[in-house]
């Protein structure tokens, strides 16, 4: 099984990280690495230095806040950044005599997510209480689904770029163990100076979907890619806005290492990861830390660690000392949650009380993977391009709008979108919505280029001007800066002749057979025309003249 994990995993990436990380060049390691990375399913031999290679194992527990108006079991509002304790009902504050009432929208969100992740939806699921004491959990227990969750046994496919180039992508799959509905806790603000904790219960009781991923990943890059794809899926479904920075998507990583062929090692849980970048860093750091510890003869404790983003390392979490006994018990105030499909739909039941799995299935939007495939098919762009388009909010729409309004082929348009527009947006930290260059202006510009009225270099200059957002059209800018290509053939011929006349040596070299020197002449013509000559045409003219 361990070998299968290695085969599924990213041996190549891991080899690099360990070589640079664990300290000191190892002259004997080359042979060892070659053996490790080539073995796919075979037992990996022990290296010369006596150290067998390590197989890291990464599993994820992801909590996604459900996008709903009100909370999971109460009618108080779900909203980010409201005055403290203003979105709290008596139930959320756990006052005696209050009871949970399940929010239908939360059930639908969980079913949608389960279906999108290829899960089996449990038509009967149960609620349980998970007990522990903490100031932000006023009831002393969290209502969750421990015995029978709402969805089980799914899968998530995601893609990785090999070797940091966007040229080759590989698809991987991670199994989804289950998805369960549960309550969020409140927020604690620790005031160490006054030795107290301030508690805000606005978040207490908000609906969460916990997505448990099996330990099928082997490094930080895979973990981050899987979470990114899940994020896109959730956002497409609308079941969660999944913004990590606002705490709508929280990831805990379970990390362990073992030698191939041996049982899994002791795992640690890493919490306090606030972004995809930190997720990759935290996982990779923890893998390295465990390897170092084990190679120095130490042991790994089954503990919970927090990721310190400033130091880039994981540290033990004080509060989680000792094994927790959650004393799970059935939630006595909630009967089982029954879901229906087209076959089992009861005849005389109030529609509002029925959640129909098939009805939800029919209304699922296109998942990101489907959208990407459609983009590739419809526009003839590369898969990597489709990933880049979906990765940036609003970029796909922008691209499609430009394509609609221009004669330029989509395959060429995509270059301008990804290499020019996107890089400007990134440089200025703007979203597509905030772009000073609209899709209309962009389409106009590309049309000028397509009609060969300006050169590619000139187009880039025009784009830079458009970016200033002064309200000028591309045509106006071209006229203003005199960037039009010289259309007059005679004028071009004259300039070409002048260049030829002035470069005797180069002309001789070309006539002697050194055709590369032609590029220098083309360059000189470009300089003479201040970039306003079409290089292809110039090349033709020069070749014609030189052959005379």
């Amino acid at each position: 099984m361990a070998a299968a994990v290695a085969a599924r995993g990213c041996g190549g990436v891991w080899r690099r990280v360990w070589q640079y990380g664990a300290g000191g060049p190892r002259p004997s390691s080359r042979g060892q690495w070659a053996a490790a990375s080539s073995a796919r399913g075979a037992v990996v031999p022990v290296g010369k230095s006596g150290l067998a290679p390590w197989v890291p194992v990464v599993g994820l527990e992801i909590h996604a806040q459900i996008s709903s108006n009100s909370k999971l079991f109460s009618g108080s509002q779900v909203q980010f950044a409201a005055p403290p304790n203003s979105l709290v009902s008596f139930f959320d504050a756990s006052l005696p005599g209050t009871l949970p009432v399940l929010n239908r929208r939360c059930v639908e969100a969980a079913v949608m997510t389960g279906l999108a992740l290829n899960c089996s939806i449990n038509k009967k699921s149960l609620f349980d209480r998970k007990h522990y004491f903490y100031a932000d959990l006023p009831a002393g227990y969290q209502i969750t689904q421990q015995r029978v969750p709402i969805a089980v046994n799914g899968s998530l496919s995601y893609s990785l770029c090999i070797d940091n180039k966007m040229s080759q992508m590989v698809t991987k799959t991670v199994r989804i163990k289950q998805i369960q509905l549960e309550q969020d806790s409140g927020k604690s603000l620790h005031d160490d100076t006054r030795s107290q904790t301030l508690v805000d219960l606005n978040r207490a009781g908000v609906g969460l979907m916990e997505v448990v991923m099996e330990p099928d990943m082997c490094c930080g890059e895979e973990a981050a890619a899987a979470v990114r794809e899940l994020q896109l899926i959730l956002q497409t479904l609308g079941s969660s806005q999944a913004v990590m920075a606002e705490g709508q998507l929280r990831v805990d990583a379970n990390v362990s290492v073992h030698h191939p062929g041996e049982p899994y090692g002791v795992r640690t849980e890493v919490k306090n990861i606030n972004s995809l970048r930190f997720l990759a860093k935290a996982v990779d750091y923890e893998i390295q830390r465990q390897i170092k510890e084990l190679e120095n003869g130490g042991t790994i404790l089954n503990e919970t660690r927090a990721f310190d983003s400033k130091l880039g390392c994981t540290v033990p979490m004080r509060d989680k000392e000792g094994k927790q006994d959650y004393r799970f018990m059935p939630e006595p105030n909630l009967p089982p949650l029954i879901l229906y499909d087209a076959k089992s739909l009861p005849a005389n039941m109030n529609h509002q009380q029925v959640v129909n799995i098939d009805w939800i299935h029919k209304r699922l939007p296109d998942l990101p993977s489907v959208t990407r495939a459609k983009l590739v098919e419809r526009y003839g762009i590369l898969p990597e391009h489709s990933f880049a388009l979906l990765n940036e909010d609003g970029l796909t729409e922008f691209f499609e709008n430009v394509v609609k309004q221009t004669q330029m082929k989509p395959k060429k348009v995509i270059g301008w979108i990804l290499n020019v527009l996107l890089s400007y947006l990134k440089q200025h930290s703007l979203t597509v919505k905030e772009s000073p260059v609209s899709s209309v202006l962009m389409a106009d510009l590309l049309n000028l280029l397509e009609k060969k009225e300006i050169s590619s270099t000139a187009a880039k200059q025009v784009f830079a001007e458009l970016w200033k957002g002064e309200g000028k059209t591309p045509l106006e800018i071209v006229k203003e800066k005199k960037l039009e290509l010289i259309q007059d053939q005679k004028e071009l011929e004259q300039i070409c002749q002048a260049v030829i006349d002035g470069q005797e040596n180069e002309v001789m070299a070309i006539k002697a057979g050194n055709l590369k020197v032609l590029n220098k002449l083309i360059g000189l013509v470009q300089r003479e025309t201040q970039g306003r000559s079409n290089p292809v045409l110039v090349k033709q003219l020069l070749e014609k003249k030189l052959s005379e």
Binding site: A93, L95, L102, I338
Partner: protein
Amino acid sequence: MRLLSVARCLRSGGLLLPPVPPGRAALSVGRHDQQQQQPPPQPAVTVEVLDHLEQLALVDFRDAEGVERLRKAIQFADLLHQVNTDGVEPMDSVLEDRCLYLREDDVTEGNCTNELLKNAREKVEEYFVAPPGNIPLPKLEERETFLKGS
């Protein structure tokens, strides 16, 4: 508040605690060992068990009388083992065959900060105030109240 309610439960013998295998302090509500017909031999309610319970449930057993109440409660609960439950599905609650009511996703509550804060002993600018983090109970040797009265 929790302390009092547990004490009340113990007194009435209504607290359900499955038998603890000798030497193991962890307790959990599980189904796997409930299929016996005779009550199993009474395991000792050891100091470790008491300590573990106090940590988990923040209960203060206080004195020998409290511990005796606990033993009696366990004995009482063990009577359940005399019932043959082979092939019987466990019941979660008497309401488990009722329909689970689904509420529409409307905002109908909240906005009662002042009312809620009335219950708070201490508050800071509309936040509830609690002691820092989770202070674990001091170790057995250091605890003043453990079995204080005995």
